[in-house]
Structures are given as C-alpha cells and as structure tokens.
Subunit: 431 residues, 2 copies
C-alpha cells in the first residue's frame, strides 16, 4: 500500500468540524430516504453515473493528468503513479463496474431466514441497510466509484474521503455519481465526497459516531492503525495480509509448484499474496527445488531457514522478523516445519488471520487445516490470490476484513447490510 | 434495571490491571482450546455443571441468603431483592437452563452457505467462535450461568464480571461451572469470574481489546453508557427499549385491546414492554376506551395528549419528555396521530430501535410499517413482549442488541459466533 507522499489539498471549507458535521447530518437524512428507495431507482442512479463517466471522459482524463503531474513532481514512485493513472480503458472499467453493481441483486429486504413458532408467530430475518458508511482511502481513483456504488446498492449513504494524490480525479468521478443520483431523483447527499484532504477531516469523521455507522479504511498501515485507534464506531479493515502457503508432506508436487508460485507472484502487491511458504521437512527436498527455481527465475528474493538454505545457495538468511513481514514485494520467506501441528502453530503465531492455504492430497490433514486455522479465508489446494470478492462471486468488494465482527473476508453489498426481524402474528399475546 | 446500591466487594486480588491482564491471557489460551473442542465435550461440561448446581443447592442458597441480607441492609428495594433471591425452584431453573443450552445445536462449524464457482472452487461459509466474550452485569445471579453457558456452547471463553449485590451467589454458581469444565477436561479459564467488584476491573476489561473480542453489558443505563463510551472493542448492548404499539385505524378492536394491554402490563420491567401507545385519531374514540379501562383497572398510570385526556378524565397530561421515557413501570404514554406516516415519524423521532408493533387488519399498512420501521424487531398484530430469544426459538439469549453491527435483536449462541470461508480447490491458480 502506498502512503501519502503528496501534500494535503486544503480548499477553504471553513471550519472542518462544522463542515464534516453538516455532511454527517445530510448523510443521515439521505440514508433515511435510501433505506426505502426501490431497487429501480438505485440502479437507475448507477447506470446514469456510468453514462456520465463515459460522457465526461476527457474531463476525467484531464483531471487525472493533473493528479499524475502533481504526484510525479512530489516524487511518487513509478508503481504509485501507475496505480493513480487513468486512461480510456481504465475509465471505461469504472463505468462498467458501476453497471455491474447495478446488476447485482438488491440485498435490502432480502429474507435471510424465516420460520414459524408453535404459537403461530411467523418470524423473518430480512436485510436492512447499515446506515451511513465512511470510507477513507488513499491513491486509487476508482475507489471513489466502487465504494460509492456498493454503499448505494446496499441502501447506505456514504461519505468518501480520498487521498491527496487522486484529489482531482476523485472529484471528477464523484461529480458523475452525483449526476446519476440527481437523474434518478435520489438525494445528492447519498454519496458525498470530503472536499479537502486536511487530515483534521479524518479525525472529525472518526469521532462522529452519531452520523457514521461504520468506517472502512483502505490504505497503508499508518492509516489503518490511526483509524482503528481513533474510530468511535465499528471499523471494517485489514491491517495486513500475512498469508501462508503450507506444503504438506502429502502435497501433489505439480499442484504445490503451481500454487506456491501463483500465490506469491501473480501480483505481489495484493493483500492475498503469499508472504511465507511453509514446507514439511520430510518432503522439502522433493517439493521445494522446482518452486525455488521458478521464484528465482521470476526475480523473487528468497529468504529461508537453515534447512532451506542448505537446499539452495540462492536462498538468503531469514530472521524471525521475516515471518512477521508483509512484503508486498517479490520477496518470500521459506521455512521448513515438522508437520501439520508445527505449521498450524507457525500460522497462529505469525499470521494475520487473512488467508492461508494448505496443499495436500491427504483429506484428513486438509480437514484439520480448514477447521483449525483461524483466518477469514482458509484454502485447500488453491492459490491464496483468490481472496477477492469478485472471485468469490460477490460481484464487487469494498475491501477485505480481518476483523471477526459482522464482516469477515471480502466485504461486498451483503456485508454492507444489517438485518431486522419481522414478526407477523394474528393477535398473539405473551402468556 | 437496578443500579448498584450495594458497596463494592474488593477481595485482595493485588494489582487490578495485572489481575485482569492475566485473566485475559488465560481466556485467550482457553479460547484456542475451545475453538476446536468437540460438541460432546462442551455439552458434558454444561451437564456436569447442572449436576453440581443441584448437588450444591444448600451451599448456593446459603451464599444467596448472605447476598440478600447484605443488600437489604444497604437498602435495596423489594423489587431488587426479589430479582436477587434464589430458592430451590429458581436454582433448579438455572440447572435446567444449562441443560437446555447443552441440548442446542452446536453452532461451531455449521455451514451457513456453500456455493461453487465456475472455475470449480467450492466455497463454504462456516461458523466459528468469536474468541473471548466479556460480560459485565448487575444483580441477577442466574446471568452467571446463562452467560457462561452460552459463550461456552459457541466455543468462546468468557470473563464474567457480576455486580456486588449477587457477589456470593455468583461465586457459588461459578464454582459449579468450573467443576463442569474440569469434569469434561476443558480448561478452567474457559469461564472466568472477576473476583472483585472494584470498578477499576471494569475499566481494565474495557481497555483490553487484545484479549476481549466483544463486551456484553447487562444492567442500568449508567453501566451501558460507560461501556459504550470506554470500550475499545465491539459492544452488544441495548441502552433502552422504548417500544411502541401503534393502533392503526383498521385495527381489530379485540386484538388491539389484548395486544396493547399485554405489551404494557405482562411484565412492565422487561425491555420489550411497551412504553408508548400511538393511536390513529380517526379510530381513537372506538379503540382506546376499553384499553384505558383495562390499564387503569390494572393500576397503570396513563399520561396522554390533549385528545386522549378529552376521552378519559383519568388520563394525566403527557409532556414531550414522556415520549422519550423508558418507564419500566406501570406507566404508559398515549398519543393520537394522524395516520401511518405520523406514527412512523413519531417512532423514528422518539423510539430506541428495539421493538415496535402495529395492530391493523390493513395488509398494505402492515407491510409499510414492517418495511419502514428501523428497529431490531418489528411486529404486526402481536405483543412487543415476544422480544426475547427464547420466544424466537433461539433457546436462550445473553441479551438483546439494538446495535446494527453483527448482532441485532436477541443475542443467542449463533450471534455469539463469527464465520470464516473455506475454499476447496483441486490445484486452481488465479489467472
């Protein structure tokens, strides 16, 4: 994750506390309207926003060019600039993303469960919106559209606070969302954007528990830590994705090779990328060499324990700090373990409860791993890089939560809802 | 709810921070064992605890008698003494309550959903324990058994901090729970009791986010407010149950009469008791008089708006404060409204989002009320006093949550769990 390298953008919005407070009250009022808005109206807003994004392509690209220029002048890395940059294809993806969210089933009002009591009471559990969602994010401009759209679909108002790098791009995209809302006759305050990157605005949001029901931070470690420390409302976040691939002695060598390489190298910067490879000592001599070859050939630095260094001279020494490090880079830590229990112990001690995988043909070992690893996503014989709402079939996600409360794993539209009980009777009184 | 009237009990437990910290670490270690404990072992612990409670009846009653004597000496009200007092029947109910929790389905490992992706990945969402639950409660000694048992069944370790009134009773009951744990070979630290009512222990619990995953406060308003203000972890709580019964113009008079009376008077001290009766002005002259007769005959004080006072001279004047008051006493506020929209507005403005009911034979009006009232439980043609985990068929509850996150409404064993995703593949890598 990129941390802020571009200075704050502080248009004059008067007193930050007051401005954020006014946004909160407007969001709460909009949330009341959204909670009872029919599906067709929410979808119409998203579809109109997609049209607006296509219509305003030149304007969006011009705004983005200013962001990129500004970020380059302030020394943002090439990787950071790439994440920031929009072109016609990427902007088109933002529009089709809005349409994809519109096409999702409406979660609001959906029956999760329904049963009848012996006294004849009919009890249904149905989804409701959460209320107001605050999203605090850095860099990528598409988050403005994705987060706003997911919140709207789930019947929630949102307050979006993007980073300074993508300030102009986010503003241009947000304008399209507002056009969509107006077009569909929904309140403009359904998706609001904080028009400053003054960090005091973040503090004001985190304190405003009466008007923001949940905060979703997306960004670097310091942002997440600040939000978790200061927020007076629940937070859906993951601090880090320290994901493991464990090669059990009964792993199929071809599967182990393909999965280990994909889990690390498909994209090294995503939270589902593997950071540590564990391998049963008994099978290390047969399983590891081709995997280490693949990794080394792809330019991945390999840090290993003594046993792994003994196998391959390209492996440099790993220290305990390596078991605790989310590299998000082409670096992998490799450790040999004495079987399943030792692997479970390592993952419990050093993992971040995000996504962990076992590769084995041993059904009992797989079952134990699935049952005992306490992570949001536990995988058998597949890559950790499937840790993604889209890959799970949720359509889109606002992030992945490593918390245990309410939302765990990919946070899609359903996870952005609450629920209530509907009790239908015919005059029942309680004895 | 009774607020603390009995002085703190402060046995010497050394430094409170250190003592609570040690309990937290022990709970975390116990939670790891419980998370993978088979159902039979958890149930055996609960059944053995029930046996111990029956075996130790004289000891428990003797401890309770000391509590009652102490509370009486410190001026606890008769209602408070009644809540505190145990006899053979009530103690027997505690034992059968433990057996009832043992008989519930084990939520841990239960599949909530399962689907297959086009690439062949099999994804299951299964219940897991939450971890460590802190329960902070006042007065009633049975909470020690109920809360400890529900947490254990859901695979959670618990740290129970009871009030000073029931200090000796809770200690005696807790000893039985520990005997059950030992008997079943589970760690004693699976259900711990804070051996002091020093309020500093509450502060230490609320700060210990690394070892307590969720806090459940049960007690008076000042306790709940303190917990919501100070807790550094999620809280399952309801501040108050300001429940409404709304008599729509198309209400069946007999149903309206029975439901209104039951909702208020069955038990006035429970959170699901109605506090405000709303009635469509057009039907007030026909619907209200028999209801006001019933309430007055049962000794309920009636506070009403001008229109209601004009109907019945026994009605005293209600002020706006009455619309905002959770009486928990035989007092009811009555207001006439101009139809469904006005009723919805009143409930939104003054309610506590706990439980609200409409009485009507008009299907469309009922549907709008169920959809639009933003409360944990919304009822059509039945009493608000059904707001209870047992009445919902959940077996038992640790409380009712008016929050929107994770648990809303009755908090039973399922609400005391989290979940994780199990992804089963056959070598899939992400393209």
């Amino acid at each position: 994750m990129v941390t802020l390298e571009v200075p704050e953008v502080r248009p004059s919005i008067g007193n930050v506390q007051e401005a954020i407070g006014a946004m909160g009250r407007a969001a709460r009022a909009a949330a009341r309207v959204l909670a009872n808005a029919p599906r067709a109206r929410k979808d119409a807003a998203l579809e109109a926003a997609a049209v607006a994004i296509r219509d305003r392509l030149p304007h969006i690209l011009e705004a983005n060019a200013r962001d990129v220029e500004n970020a380059r002048a302030h020394g943002l890395s090439e990787a950071g600039l790439d994440r920031l940059r929009l072109d016609e294809a990427r902007t088109g993806s933002i529009a089709t993303g809005l349409e994809a969210v519109a096409a999702l089933d409406d979660p609001v009002g959906a029956e999760i469960a329904r049963w009848r009591r012996p006294n004849g009471l009919d009890i249904a559990r149905v989804r409701t919106p959460l209320g107001v969602v605050g999203v605090i994010y850095e860099s990528r401009p598409n988050v403005t559209a994705d987060a706003g759209a997911l919140c709207l679909k789930a019947g929630n108002a949102s307050i979006l606070r993007g980073g300074s790098e993508s300030f102009a791009s986010s503003k241009a995209i947000h304008e399209c969302l507002v056009l969509g809302l107006e077009d569909a006759g929904l309140p403009k305050a359904a998706i609001q954007r904080v028009p400053t990157t003054d960090r005091a605005a973040v503090g004001a949001m985190l304190a405003m528990a009466e008007h923001i029901d949940v905060i979703v931070p997306r960004g670097g470690r310091s942002l997440i830590e600040r939000v978790q420390r200061e927020a007076r409302m629940p937070v859906f976040a993951h601090l880090e994705g320290l994901c493991h691939v464990y090669l059990h002695a009964a792993a199929d060598p071809a599967r182990a090779r393909a999965i280990a390489f994909n889990a690390k190298m498909r994209r090294v910067s995503v939270c589902g990328a593997a950071e540590t490879l564990l391998c049963d000592r008994a099978a290390a001599a047969s399983l590891l060499p081709p995997i280490l070859d693949d990794l080394a050939a792809a330019g991945c630095e390999i840090r290993g324990d003594a046993a792994t260094r003994a196998l391959d001279p390209r492996v440099v020494e790993a220290t305990e700090a390596d078991w605790r490090t989310e590299y998000l880079e082409p670096i992998i830590a490799v450790r040999q373990v004495e079987g399943l229990d030792a692997a479970l112990e390592h993952i419990d001690a050093f993992g971040s409860h995000h996504t962990d995988a076992i590769v084995t043909e041993d059904v009992a070992a797989a079952a134990r791993f699935l049952a005992e690893v306490d992570s949001a996503i536990v995988v058998h014989n597949a890559s950790t890089q499937f840790a993604d709402g889209g890959e799970f079939g949720m359509g889109a996600e606002i992030g992945i939560s490593t918390g245990r409360m309410h939302a765990r794993g990919p946070v899609g539209v359903e996870q952005l809802t609450s629920f209530k009980y509907l009790v239908r009777g015919h005059g029942q009184t309680r004895p």
